[in-house]
């Protein structure tokens, strides 16, 4: 400190008016010349004491009662000087290494490379390897090792704490205002503007405040000290590294004869080691205390935050409903809403596969139609030739004008294999009860032999929806969107055209393309253009 001070004073001597005026007051005193000489007085005095006391002691006979005390005094004063020197040396050491590593450009680093430094480094590496591989006798200091380990752990802990606490803070800052916002929004929906409790949102908007206080306190009490602590670690870390280097050097000399070099290495190492051991202990203690304090602060801050967080929500809203009754009440309301006509008429009755451009087309509720009876069937059989007779493969609902419904297994006679617009997929049929159009893909040729045993069952299951697919092999799909074939392998589709799927993948097993048949033509169509028809 003294050196810096005197240097600074010398520099500022000419500039600072106060200093000059102070120095001016010296001129009356004969011993003083300038600030520098004033400052050096304590140093000189400290160094004079041992000499003084030594002279005194030498002049005193050992039998004198004061001799003992003189001896002690001399020893004490010598100690002071030794301590001062030690401290000075340590600081110098540290400064030397600190200056070495700071602000070094690549050029500086290169300029330091010389034979000496290179040989030094390579010797160290060799020694290190020797220790690792051959386990040679080496100087060990278990105290140092323990402290160093503690130091390392402390550093990691502090580092992690700073990182994690910062993250947590960020999240808290995000989450709390969001929660308050949702409450406000829900409040707006749940209450009329002029109803009671409508001023709730005003009081809620102050809810971000607990967060701000928390943030400020957290920074001051926890993050700043911890960050400061964190920044103190690199200095000692460098010295630890240096000590290790010195240790390597020293180890290298252990085997050889004692000489000047080895002595120097030993002195260096021991000085550094002693310094580190002593001061690392202090560091660790203090660092640990800081860490503990910060954690305690963190916890109390959280406690207070939770208290503050509670406040806005507990402003006088009467909480009357039990959680279980909430869903009841809400279900009741939703039932009422669903009973409104516009909901009933327009909810999706036409269930389709999930597609992005699907349109929900409501299917009109079917009126009860008279079902085909035995006499109708026999009439058909009688009036039409066998080739014209077809059977409904599954239930079909009438969707267009002049369509008719068919139940599975009903018998129809085909009058015309096309509809008024010329489409060959819609056929005019006679069910014995009525005439109308159905899609040809719903019909299969009537085979009287096969029909016998299954007919009865089908007849009796008329009422139920037989929406189950027949063994999954024949499935009717419809094109949700028109598709233009780009090659002869693909099949063009019109919107809402029904197709019959022959295979659910293409020749290479790609499930995106299905082999479809419509109007007598076959081709591949994209799977996601197709919707399966199931009837609600």
């Amino acid at each position: 400190v003294f050196h810096f001070l005197s240097r600074d004073i010398e520099v500022s001597d000419t500039e600072d008016a106060e200093v000059t005026s102070f120095s001016g007051s010296f001129y009356s005193k004969p011993n003083l010349l300038d600030m520098g000489s004033l400052l050096i007085k304590p140093v000189q005095r400290v160094m004079k004491y041992p000499l003084l006391l030594c002279e005194l002691r030498n002049a005193t006979p050992p039998s004198h009662p004061d001799y003992r005390e003189l001896e002690d005094a001399l020893a004490a004063v010598k100690d002071i000087n030794v301590n001062i020197n030690e401290l000075k040396r340590r600081k110098d050491l540290v400064l030397k290494y600190k200056k070495n590593d700071e602000d070094e450009s690549l050029k500086d680093k290169f300029s330091k490379l010389n034979i000496h430094s290179i040989s030094k480094k390579s010797k160290r590496v060799t020694n290190h390897l020797k220790i690792l591989t051959r386990g040679e006798s080496q100087v060990k200091d278990s105290t140092f090792n323990r402290e160093e380990k503690l130091f390392r752990h402390l550093e990691k802990t502090v580092r992690n704490c700073v990182k994690n606490i910062s993250f947590c803070l960020q999240h808290i800052q995000d989450a709390m205002p969001l929660a308050a916002q949702t409450v406000t929004e829900l409040h707006v929906i749940s209450y009329d503007k002029d109803a009671k409790g409508s001023d709730y949102s005003a009081s809620l908007s102050k809810a971000t405040n607990p967060c701000e206080d928390f943030v400020a306190h957290l920074h001051r009490l926890v993050l700043t000290p911890l960050s400061a602590l964190q920044s103190l670690f690199p200095g000692p870390q460098k010295l630890i590294q240096k000590r290790f280097d010195k240790l390597l050097d020293y180890n290298g000399y252990l085997q050889r004869a004692v000489g000047d070099d080895s002595d120097l290495a030993r002195k260096d190492y021991e000085a550094l080691n002693a310094q580190l051991v002593e001061e690392l202990q202090v560091f660790n203690q203090a660092g640990r205390q800081v860490l503990l304090n910060c954690l305690c602060c963190f916890i109390t801050l959280l406690r207070d935050l939770m208290l503050m967080g509670l406040k806005p929500y507990s402003t006088g809203m009467p909480l009357s409903l039990l959680p279980t009754s909430i869903s009841e009440a809400q279900n009741r309301v939703i039932e009422e809403v669903h009973s409104l006509n516009f909901v009933k008429d327009n909810s999706a009755t036409f269930i389709e596969r999930k597609l992005s451009f699907e349109k929900k087309k409501p299917v009109p509720i079917l009126a009860e139609m008279p079902r085909q009876m035995e006499n109708h069937r026999s009439q058909l059989l009688a009036s039409y030739s066998l080739e014209a007779l077809y059977q409904a493969k599954r239930r079909c609902n009438a969707t267009q004008e002049h369509d008719i419904d068919l139940l599975e297994g009903e018998l129809v006679a085909v009058i015309e294999q096309k509809d008024p617009l010329g489409s060959a997929s819609r056929w005019l049929v006679d069910t014995g009860i009525a005439k109308g159009y159905v899609y040809s893909s719903f019909l299969k040729p009537y085979n009287p032999a096969k029909v016998q045993q299954t007919d009865g069952e089908h007849r009796f299951s008329n009422g139920a929806d037989t929406d189950s697919l027949q063994d999954g092999d024949e499935q009717i799909f419809y094109a949700v969107h028109a598709f233009q074939a780009r090659s002869e392998h693909e099949l063009s589709l019109q919107e809402y055209q029904r197709v019959h799927i022959l295979r659910f993948c293409d020749l290479s097993g790609n499930k995106e393309w299905w082999l479809a048949e419509a109007q007598g033509q076959k081709g591949y169509v994209p799977a996601n253009y197709l919707g399966k028809m199931t009837y609600a």
Binding site: L150, C168, R303, L307, L321, V337, N346
Partner: protein, 253 residues
């Protein structure tokens, strides 16, 4: 609700009177706004619950990193503190999860259910609009025929067109009437529907914060060098840090 279709010769060929249209727009407008509000709220709730969960996860990370640190091995006091902190953080996480679940059940899902009604509403409005267009079209045809000179075929055509018009007009009137009646009912149903959700949301937050406060208060009582306030700790930190800076190995100039 009766409304009079304007006949030909009136200056404004408006088959639906302005007041009716205005009422309709107003009611529908309210519902559209409600739809937007519910959608936004749903999104915000999702963001909020995600943020809450992220927060408690990061809090747990603080304590579990501390716990996994070898520093704890030698230092009993430190270990005790960190274990207690870890327990507290884990409980915070659990409560938070519980809160989120509660919100999910009593607020987010009802919101979704309520929101699923809107597509039906929009469809109904669209169909009414379509019916209106059909009605307008046929009405103009009728008027066109009414303007022509009254010859036989024209009269026949006029009659036919009028016949066509009638069901369409009835359909539109029915749709219009239905919607005008039901939209306000739908709108007012939101109050009864959402108030329980609101209360539940409030309650969830209250419970959470109360519990959290209790947990941390107990923790501070358990851990503390009793009586140390934050200010004292702050000062102690300062002194310790200065002590550290004074160390020669730290080499702070």
């Amino acid at each position: 609700m009766s409304w009079i279709p304007f006949k030909i010769g009136q200056p404004k060929k408006q088959i639906v009177p302005k007041t009716v249209e205005r009422d309709f727009e107003r009611e529908y407008g309210k519902l559209q706004q409600l739809e937007d509000q519910t959608k936004k709220l749903q999104k915000d709730l999702k963001k909020s619950t995600d943020a809450d969960l992220a927060m408690s996860k990061s809090a747990v990370k603080i304590s579990s990193d501390l716990l996994s640190n070898p520093l704890c091995e030698q230092d009993q006091e430190f270990l005790n503190m960190v274990t207690a902190l870890d327990t507290a953080m884990k409980r915070m996480d659990a409560f938070n999860q519980e809160k989120v679940n509660q919100i999910q059940k009593t607020v987010i899902e009802p919101l979704k259910k309520f929101g699923s009604v809107f597509p039906s509403l929009n469809m109904a409005v669209k169909r009414r609009e379509q019916a209106l267009q059909d009605y307008k079209r046929l009405q103009s045809r009728v008027e066109k025929y009414e303007e022509k000179e009254k010859t036989g075929p024209v009269l026949a055509k006029l009659h036919q067109v009028r016949e066509e018009l009638r069901p369409v007009k009835d359909d539109f009137e029915a749709k219009n009437r239905q919607l005008l009646e039901e939209m306000p009912r739908f709108y007012s149903s939101r109050l009864d529907y959402f108030q329980p959700s609101f209360e539940s949301l409030i309650r969830a937050q209250v419970v959470y914060y109360t519990e959290m406060h209790k947990i941390f208060r107990d923790l501070t009582q358990q851990l503390d060098q009793p009586g140390h306030t934050d200010e004292q700790r702050e000062q102690e930190n300062e002194t310790k840090l200065s002590e550290l800076r004074a160390l020669s190995i730290v080499a702070d100039d």
